[in-house]
Symmetry: C2
Subunit: 448 residues, 2 copies
């Protein structure tokens, strides 16, 4: 059932009523991702009844994890403590760890009230670094001893009550080490007496709990997998990451890449609280103010030149602006190439050379256009020639920097996306003003 | 087996030899995505032998479609025509349609040589719009008559020879219309005599062949699906889109979004030919030159003011630059919010108001800082006050425009990402110079 205004109205009426049975039966039919959207329409007292109903049909954690983080934190804080402990105790471990991690201030108190065995496992999960496979994995994973036959495996599969996400059958040895994998289809279509040993692929693509989530995503994409197993330092199978979680990882990575160029933090979203966005954007704005002031101080060297020929003050933004565009285009292509693995099809050297040639060719053409515009507009051949030359020089600097900076950052194991935009813009602005006004100063000295 | 320098050397040696058997047996063990990377290392004559070997082990199309498009086109053109026709006739239909679409000039000639029945089906696929579900789908889909029992279904499954990607069992009626879906797991674990009718979910999330690929991606992400069925206008099942293809769609969409802000076309990559990149970037650079010239003409109104107080010419880039940053940050957050569906958790009105408040708060703070810097650096309280006021005004314009423009573009059904960056930068540049120099002109007139 999809969510529409009719069933939203029905749900809200049922939330006010005493009989929870019809409410539960309607909620059972709606997808968790749709159920999550309901929260923003509900009042505080409705939210509590809603969560009770979700918990009783075992859909609370599934629904909650579809919420954006700031909203999720708010709602988790609204749940009374005994209920929250119950939720954290009975929902999937990986969800519990995710929720606990968000509840920073009450994490320890809550953990103390969770049964010891589970607490130990949750602490284990929370010990994996953020953005690692250990944090992204589902810990409920279907595995079988490698000694079984296909028929025995299917019988095992039948015994599991809950509908788990099963796409591959992972086989383990006596020490729970991952030793092979078979597709569900291969299992079903094999003769019943076939041994798993003879059915499985023993070369399994797996990741460690500490592998970076984005590296996991690359592997899953590269091998077109539906799920990838996660192992610990003893090669024991401890979880899987499914492709739908990989999709989320890829989306978040894309957001991070897009945001990096504007100096934004990944969790600064349209729905983030105002103060959060303000605090997050402030350092970037201050950095830009400092850099803009530095550029200004370069321009100030040439005040005498500009006083002598005021048209220069009108035109210098063109040189800097076009240079910035060239740099950003080159930078974007190279950065995205690094992110998507395009560089397995071309060498860095060739790519830099190409970007340089494209940038300078564009610089020559656009510089000539700018020279002509200035010549006809301001009736000065000299200023036209100056702007043309400085734009060509700046296009060289812009495309070289735009191509090399992200590659150098990558080689240094830094994120090539963040910071490189502001750096190249600063360089092209400075060099743009410097070359234009510098050449003009020389021109005025010798040719007028 | 993964690709490394040892087996690359072995493959190259085998490509030179006469005996194709060892070559095939090594190629069989390597993943198609790895095999694709080999192409860039091979010489022309090796490429031909390589493709022959890939065709004979039925991995040619799988390997080729992993190549970046420009490289793929080059290689397809190297294949002799009879072999290419054979490839297009025997590879999966959807791959054949994809290859044909790239071979624009020889498409008709090639199609004419393909057996009629297949040609008709290929033409059907090619008739779907670019970026539609019909283009992204796999046409080989496992479906069963709804009347079967679970055991009969498993027997059917066993009969299929090739390892197809089967995650769900789609059920169709006599007219081939999609009427239900069951997971492979549900099928396997159900009592053998259960009728599919009683096993399937009849509310199937499906898309039409003409649905936009990015809308398909959103559905798959929203419902955490592994595959989504594609139907035609008669509700007949004609294909599926699997989540690994959705991953590619999401990656391409992310690239398009990142590129849009820099005025780049999606297929302008590090490995694209120089001429292609030049031609693609030129219009954007020309547009920017025109806009920069317009901004310059605004500045030129104030030449008299700048002559009178040359320090203004040194400082005006600060106002425009900081305004541009504010606008781009707001724009990026709002555009990304539209792309990822964040607006199901907040209204447009509230988001615009928040962005406005963040932008202006930052404007006040950064404006004050800039005012102080100028006051101490240039020893002029008046210029300090002018820069502060104009930066606050510009932050208001920047955040309003940055938030509203993408939303308006979205409402008009245009792509909110493309073009909005250059538009808001133009607005903030113009308004930044205008307000700073305008206020300075008034200030000079009345206060000095």
């Amino acid at each position: 059932m999809t969510l529409n205004s009719t069933n939203i109205a029905i749900i809200r009426r049922l939330l006010g009523g005493r009989n929870s049975r019809p409410l539960k039966s309607i909620l059972l039919k709606i997808e968790a991702s749709d159920l999550a959207k309901l929260f923003s329409l509900l009042k505080d007292h409705e939210i509590r009844t809603y969560i009770d109903a979700l918990m009783s049909i075992d859909k609370a954690s599934d629904t909650l994890k579809n919420l954006p983080e700031p909203q999720l934190v708010k709602i988790l804080k609204k749940i009374e403590s005994p209920k929250l402990v119950a939720l954290l105790t009975f929902c999937p471990e990986d969800d519990a760890a995710f929720f606990l991690d968000l509840l920073d201030d009450s994490k320890e108190t809550l953990l103390a009230r969770i049964p010891e065995k589970r607490r130990r496992r949750l602490n284990q999960l929370l010990s994996y670094p953020e953005d690692s496979a250990g944090r992204a994995m589902i810990t409920k994973v279907f595995s079988l001893p490698i000694e079984l036959t296909a028929q025995e495996a299917i019988d095992e599969l039948r015994k599991r009550h809950r509908e788990e996400a099963i796409y591959y059958v992972y086989c383990v040895d006596e020490e729970k080490r991952l030793v092979g994998v078979a597709s569900l289809r291969a299992l079903v279509t094999a003769p019943p007496e076939t041994r798993l040993k003879d059915l499985v692929k023993t070369e399994v693509v797996a990741v460690h709990a500490t592998t970076l989530a984005q590296d996991v995503a690359k592997l899953v994409q590269h091998y077109d997998l539906i799920a990838i197993p996660v192992i610990d330092e003893n090669k024991a199978l401890i979880g899987i990451i499914t492709v739908d979680d990989v999709l989320d990882i890829v989306q978040e990575q894309a957001t991070a890449d897009i945001y990096a160029s504007a100096g934004l933090q990944e969790d600064d979203r349209v729905y983030s609280p105002l103060r959060f966005s303000f605090k997050n954007r402030l350092p970037w704005m201050l950095l830009n103010l400092v850099l803009a002031s530095l550029v200004s101080s370069i321009v100030s060297f040439f005040e005498a030149t500009m006083s002598q020929l005021i048209v220069l003050a009108t035109l210098n933004n063109i040189v800097a602006g076009i240079g910035g565009n060239t740099a950003i285009q080159t930078l974007t292509v190279v950065t995205r190439g690094i992110a998507t693995g395009d560089f397995s099809f071309i060498s860095y050297r060739k790519a830099i050379l190409k970007e340089l040639l494209v940038g300078v060719s564009l610089g020559v053409l656009i510089g000539a256009c700018a020279g002509l515009i200035v010549y006809f507009w301001r009736q000065s051949a000299m200023v036209g020639i100056i702007i043309c030359i400085s734009m060509i020089l700046n296009s060289f600097v812009a495309s070289t920097m735009g191509a090399i900076i992200p590659i150098v950052l990558k080689k240094l194991n830094w994120d090539p996306a963040s910071g490189s935009g502001v750096l190249v813009t600063f360089i092209t602005d400075s060099f743009g003003f410097f070359s234009f006004l510098g050449i003009a100063t020389i021109g005025l000295k010798y040719f007028s």
